[in-house]
Every structure is written in structure tokens, then in C-alpha cells.
Symmetry: C2
């Protein structure tokens, strides 16, 4: 790594991620007005003890163009959850609308109000005012997170945090929501603090071995953490609550992508890594399927669940379909999904869209009680091709398949509930169009620009950090 | 099981397996003459201490039509192996030819003379006369085996032994040679002795669990035997030498076939189990390939190794080819081989004779030193279809295959020594015809009746005991 080159890239990247004066002014003005207005409305209510600004605006770590004001309403521990919720929803809405903004309902661990004021995203969230450690709801930790991070960040580390967040955004790794399964803002800040800067963090990440264990407080030892979180690919114990893994939402793939992105960036630093990969407007005619074997599921969900729940359903369903396909004898290379309006498209790339006519039926070991039964039934089957025979301790037979095509089989499985799909999506999936690259998948997407772009990217199949590397090299 | 029915079947089976008076007379006359003649020739030689009849004729346990006279020449321990061998080969040949018979050389653990006198198969084998346990060559145990079995067999158990051997023959399970990997004569006798009869033995075998441990002397405990023979599916400790497993040659498949045969016979007893399955003369036109995917390797070996070594080479080569095919992405359902004159045919049934154009290349985990290298090289490859991408901790890419057809690939692998085949067969395999069911495999076998019959049986794919069951039901 050429240090001068690196410094130049980082200087340019800072320009991309640091909010300018106008943005700072706008965001802080919205924050102050919102805080003031919330104090006026909420503090009058019984049970409300305090109102505060939290999140990246409080910590001054937001990335340019992504300023988002989080106001927390602190309720007394005695307040009922239903009272907390209805108070936040009703008064929150009034506050935002009173400021001339728009607002809508969102769900995380509990309902909160999201809105927009003067073009700035705002959130109004209710929490219980508890002493450290006596959490009553998950967001009760947030004020402690804010305080901890503020106590550790210098203005230099704020710049470094923004670089890291920008790097995560540019590589599709930012955000703990289920669609992304990446790195939350708080986790990003802790990582930068722990490694004392962006470049040190990337150097470290490029050499991580799995599972990754990181700690700031030494409250929990590595061995104990691995026992507490046995399947986590990365563990960062929360300095505010050591029994909690701040990185719990990070998937193995996203962790590996960060590790690879760090390696690639160090190998050839480039500003590209801080920008979303270039997406060009595509025409249907440009989609080259070659000899690809794609199975597509296109369906409409009129009243989808909130995004985090919806993407959980999508991922659960895709896993179920992949497993069923593999069990039947297909080989699933990759899968991905995209949403556009009310429509969702799931795509699976297979080694083949058609199974061989003959299917190997694995029978019981000869010493089991049903060996005789398998022999007798196999001999009588109309779809017997050959066998039964003995190989090792087991019986086998070769049978003729009823259906061989992936699309036909998937239709049957959904109809007959023989595939594990999300129950919330079942009705939509029953009406889904099951398409293949051989039978009109691409043609069906004509005019749906987002799906065409998604398909082009899927066909290229290059992970985002590698796309940057390809452009930078 | 209907006992009367069973008794009737066993009575009929006895007629099949018991030698008649004429055969007994012929065999015993040949045995006496051969013993006399060997005594005359060998006992004059220095170092020869004794001459004896061993094997199934000595034990009176041979199956009708299979009388085989084994004469053992006992040499003193001081005799050199080369002297023993040359004496047996030279004098043995003279003895047989002096009796008007034909003779030829055979190899087991060491060379011996096989021949035919008056239509009866004879063997002349040299062993060292040792005290119990001080074995110098593997056949030194044989006289002790003979003595042990003779001491245990009653005339009733001789009848039962012949039934069991006939049952094994009828199910293709008799013989410890590599081609069969089944049950030796000695093992059959011990099994009948241990279970005090044929039906008891079958009842027991139908309930065996793996691994099977059987013992007559209680010299070795089950746990110790499992430690001594960790991978053996069946252990029968030799009463003459408890450190030896009499059943060492029995493969898991053949053991399982006996267990299944026992179950099937008990379920519906029939004389069929004591006869070789019916084989009809077949025409090429009768071979129905349906949609079967067969890969055939037809080759000529002009000077094959002795049968046991040759079949070891064939099996080793078939395992090597199967593994290579599986590694490449083919699925091998079954394989088998047949020999006819100088020609050998190996057949593999695959799920498909052609691989998909796209091949998934599994790259290294992202945390390894060569992850960067994989990324760089994959991006530059002319055969790249898509990727590289990250999934879990690993990198993957989709590449275009150069060759997709099983026959073309196998030709290349043999040429480039990229498949583990027996080195003794390599030259023959290089000149082999690699055929498929799509490209003239069956047509090429026109006029080779044995291969056509073999192929018909392979296509039916029913294990021999199940064939009997199918006919009996």
C-alpha cells in the first residue's frame, strides 16, 4: 500500500462522507426544534421524565446526506407499555405535523414514529428511564450507548467513524436490518474506537480469523463469549451490557465481505469503495442469459409486513425453496431477491432446470424391519427402472420421476405445502408466476427497470467489494 | 414361515447339494490315487515329511458337482521357500500328468498346482509342518482347520453345511476370492457349526446387526475383536488362530446380501435360492436402454494377472473412475464389470452422461492468503460466467466447462493420468473403447453373448437374493 496514495484517497473520501456546513446547520436546527417541541408536548404527560436527542446526530457521526434525528422520550418504569406506545404514537405524530412535517408508523422491537421535517428524517421513540443494567425494553440501552460513544470519540475519531460508515455503505454492508444483515451505526462506532481509526480497523479486519471476538471493556473473556454466542461469526461485547453481542445481526457472508473489502482496499485503495457501485439503466435487450439456468418466482404482496419482517419472510422462504430444490437433486448455485413496489422477484441459479428421468431411491439398511417391505414394494412399482439392489448395508432402487422440471416441481410443492415457505407469503406464492430462463423469465420483466437491473447484477454475480476492486485495478 | 413347506424345500435342496454315489465314488477314487501318487513322488524328496488330503473332500462337505481334491505336501520348517515352491510345481505337475490329467499354475499366497484328473478338479499345495500357532505361511493353518472342522461335524451337520454352501452359491455369495468377496468354505462350515444347523444360522443372520461378531472358542471378547479388526463388517475369530478373522474377505455388500437373503428365504422359502438365477440367452434387440445413462469401458488384456489379482485391479480401477466422475459432478448410481475371453467390460450407470455447461468453482475462505489471488484470477478468466462472489466465509465463481461429456472426460483423464487406475491396466485402458448408451455401447457388443447377458442383468439391477424372491413370490 502506497501511503501517499492512501492519504489522498482518504482525503477525497472525507469530502464524500463529511456533512457540509449547510447540512450541519439544517440538521441541528431540525434537532433543536424537534427536541423543544417534544419537551413541550411530552413533559406535560404523566410518566414522562425526560426527552433527549440520541443516535448519530447526538454523537455527530452521521454520514453526509444521511442525517437522521432520533428523539427519545423517557418514561418512568411504572408506565404501562400500552400507555408508552399510545403516547409516543399520538403525541409524536402531533409534534411532527405541528412542525409542518409528514409522519408514519414504523415497527422495530416496538412501534415508533418516523417522519420528515424540512427534508430531514426524524424518529420519535419511547424508552423507559432505567438505571444501568435494569433494561425493560431493548431501546432502554440507547441513551447509555450514546453516552459511552460520546465519551470516547474525539473529533479525529468522528472523521474516522464517518469514513468507516461510508466504506460500509459503499460496499453494501451498512445496516443491521434483516435485508442487509450488516453493521449497525453503533457497531461501526465501537469498531473505530477499538482500533483507534479507520485504517487500523481495515488492517485488522483484513487479518481477522473466524470467529472474530472483539472487546472494549474486558468484561468477558473470549472463551466465555464463544460459549455465550456459539454460532456468531463475530462477537463484539456491548460495553454497556457485556451479556449482549452488538454484532448479533451481522451474517457470516457480510462479515466475510468486510474482511475481503478490507484486503482489496488495502491492496489497491480507491475512492470507488466509498460510492455505491455504478448501476446503469438497462434495456431488456442487454440481458444476456447465455446458458444460465434461472428459476424465478414473481409475486405480488398487497399489504406487506414492515420491511424487517417482510425481508425475514423472504429470506426464510428462499432458504426453504433452496433446500427443497437441493433435496430433490437440483444444485442451487446462488439466489437473491428484489422488491419493486408491490412486486417481489426471487431468483435461483441452478446447475440445471431439469432433473434426470431416473431417480435413486435410497432404501433402508438390510437389517431394519422395513427392508422386506422396501424390496416387495420396489419390485411392484410401475415406475421401477431397476433394482432393488444391495450396496454396502443399504437397499437402493432406481425409479422414474413423475416430474423433472424445476418450475413444475416448485408449483406442485407450493400447492401441496411440501416446501417450507413463510406462512405470511403463502397466499401470494400460490398466485406467483414461476418462470425460468428457458420459459420467458426475462421477457416477463419487460418494462420493470428495477428488476432488469437486479437481474443484470445477479447474472454478473460479483460481490460489491469485488466490483470496486475490478473498477479500481 | 410354514414349517412343513420349509422342510419340503430343504429336502429338495438336499438333493441338489448332496453328491450322489457315483460322484462320491469318483471323487474318493481320484483322491486316493492322487494321495498315493503324491506320497510316492514327494516323500522321497528331502524335507518332505508328510502328504495329506485337506479341504472339503477331507471334511466331506463339498457341494454336488464341485468336488475338488486338495493334497497338501508338508515340508520341514528348514526347507527354503524356493525349494518348497519348485518341488511342488515340478513334482505336482508330474504327478497329475502321470495320472493322465491336465495341470496348470495358480497363485494364491504362493504358487500351487491346479489340475484335472478324470474330470475332477485337483490342487497340490505345499505347506510347512509346524506346531500349532508357529505359522510360517498362511496355508500352514489349513491342516489344523481340517482337523478342527472334522472334530465338530456330525453327518447331520455335513448335510446342513452343504445346504448352506448351496444357498451361498445360489445367491452369488460363495467364495473368498476378490471377484466375489464372499464366504469361504471354511467360514461356511464354522457358521453352520456355531449355529448348529442351516435354518438356525439363517434365522440368526436375518437378525444380525453390524458389525457382526461370532466366536466359537471365546478366546477373544467382542470389544477386543472390534479393536483388532476396526473396519470389518463381520468378524469370526478363527478357532485355530484367534488373532485371525476368518471372515476378512467378506465385503459389507456381500454380508448384507446374506442377511437379506436369509430374511427373504425365511419369508418365502423356495428351492430357487439354491439355484443360480435363470439366465436366458439374449439378443441385442432385447436390450432396452430406455433413458438409461451408461458409460462403458471395453478393453483387451492379452496377458492378464491371475484372477484374484486381476479382479483386484478391475475393482481398484472402477473405484478410481467412480470417484473421479463424482468429483467432477457426475452421480454414479452403480457399476459392474464382466470378463469374456481377453475382453473386459466395465459399466457405470450415471444420472446423466453430460454435465451442465456452468461449473461452480469453490474458492478459498476470504481470510486465507490466496483469497486475493482467487479474486484477481477469476476476474481475468476467459471462461468466467459469473462471480467471484462471497457466500459464507468462502469465495465462489461460475466457470464455463471445457468438456461436458462423461466419455470425453474419461478419455482425457486416462490419457493425462488424472484418474486413479491400476497401473497394470493402464496400457490396456489407454487403448480402451470408451462408449456410452447414447453412442453405440450396445451396438458395439453385438455378437458378444456374455456381455449382452451381463448388460441385461446390469440393467435389471436386482441383487441375486431378490431375484429369487421375485421368482418365489
Amino acid at each position: 500500500m502506497d501511503l501517499a496514495e492512501l492519504e489522498e484517497v482518504l482525503a477525497e473520501a472525507s469530502l464524500l462522507v463529511e456533512p457540509d456546513e449547510a447540512e450541519r446547520l439544517l440538521v441541528s436546527r431540525v434537532a433543536e426544534r424537534l427536541l423543544e417541541s417534544c419537551r413541550e408536548r411530552f413533559l406535560k404527560k404523566g410518566g414522562v421524565l425526560d426527552v433527549s436527542i440520541e443516535g448519530s446526530v447526538a454523537k455527530d457521526t452521521w454520514v453526509r446526506g444521511r442525517g437522521e434525528v432520533d428523539v427519545f422520550i423517557h418514561f418512568s418504569k411504572e408506565t404501562g407499555r400500552d400507555v408508552l406506545e399510545s403516547t409516543v404514537l399520538n403525541l409524536g405524530r402531533e409534534v411532527i405535523e405541528g412542525m409542518g412535517g409528514r409522519s408514519w408508523l414504523r415497527y422495530a422491537s416496538h412501534p415508533y414514529i418516523e417522519g420528515e421535517v424540512d427534508g430531514v428524517r426524524v424518529n420519535i421513540v419511547g424508552c423507559f428511564k432505567v438505571t444501568h443494567g435494569r433494561w425493560m425494553s431493548p431501546v432502554d440501552r440507547t441513551p447509555f450507548h450514546t453516552a459511552f460513544v460520546k465519551s470516547k470519540l474525539t473529533s479525529e475519531l468522528r472523521r474516522e467513524t464517518r469514513l468507516f460508515k461510508g466504506f460500509l455503505i459503499g460496499n453494501g454492508l451498512y445496516g443491521a436490518e434483516i435485508k442487509t444483515e450488516g453493521f449497525s451505526g453503533y457497531l461501526s462506532e465501537l469498531l473505530v474506537i477499538r482500533h483507534d481509526g479507520f485504517v487500523n480497523l481495515l488492517r485488522s479486519a483484513s487479518e481477522w480469523k473466524l470467529p472474530v471476538f472483539i472487546d472494549l471493556t474486558e468484561a468477558v473473556k473470549r472463551d466465555e463469549a464463544l460459549r455465550l454466542f456459539p454460532n456468531a461469526p463475530i462477537i463484539f461485547t456491548d460495553p454497556v451490557d457485556p451479556s449482549r453481542n452488538v454484532a448479533a445481526a451481522v451474517s457470516l457472508t457480510k462479515l466475510a465481505e468486510l474482511m475481503l473489502a478490507a484486503k482489496l482496499f488495502i491492496e489497491s485503495p480507491s475512492l470507488d469503495y466509498f460510492k455505491p457501485p455504478s448501476r446503469e439503466r438497462r434495456d431488456l435487450a442487454e440481458v444476456d442469459l447465455g446458458s444460465r439456468c434461472l428459476l424465478g418466482v414473481l409475486f405480488r404482496v398487497e399489504k406487506p409486513s414492515p420491511p424487517d419482517i417482510f425481508w425475514g419472510e423472504i429470506k426464510h422462504t428462499m432458504r426453504g425453496i433452496s433446500r427443497r430444490l437441493e433435496k430433490e437433486g437440483f444444485h442451487v448455485y446462488r439466489s437473491a431477491a428484489a422488491q419493486s413496489g408491490e412486486e417481489t422477484l426471487m431468483v435461483f441459479e441452478l446447475s440445471s432446470l431439469r432433473l434426470p428421468e431416473a431417480e435413486l431411491r435410497v432404501g433402508p439398511p438390510v437389517w431394519t424391519g422395513n427392508a422386506l417391505d422396501f424390496v416387495r414394494k420396489s419390485l411392484r412399482r410401475g415406475d421401477r427402472i431397476s433394482g432393488p439392489w444391495v450396496d454396502g448395508e443399504r437397499l437402493y432402487a432406481l425409479l422414474r420421476r413423475r416430474a423433472q422440471d424445476a418450475d413444475e416441481l416448485l408449483k406442485e410443492w407450493i400447492k401441496g405445502r411440501q416446501v417450507a415457505v413463510s406462512s405470511q407469503l403463502l397466499d401470494s406464492l400460490r398466485k406467483a408466476e414461476i418462470l425460468t430462463s428457458e420459459k420467458g423469465l426475462v421477457e416477463r420483466l419487460d418494462g420493470r427497470e428495477e428488476f432488469i437491473m437486479f437481474l443484470e447484477e445477479f447474472l454478473d454475480g460479483v460481490s460489491t467489494p469485488i466490483k470496486h476492486f475490478r473498477e479500481a485495478e
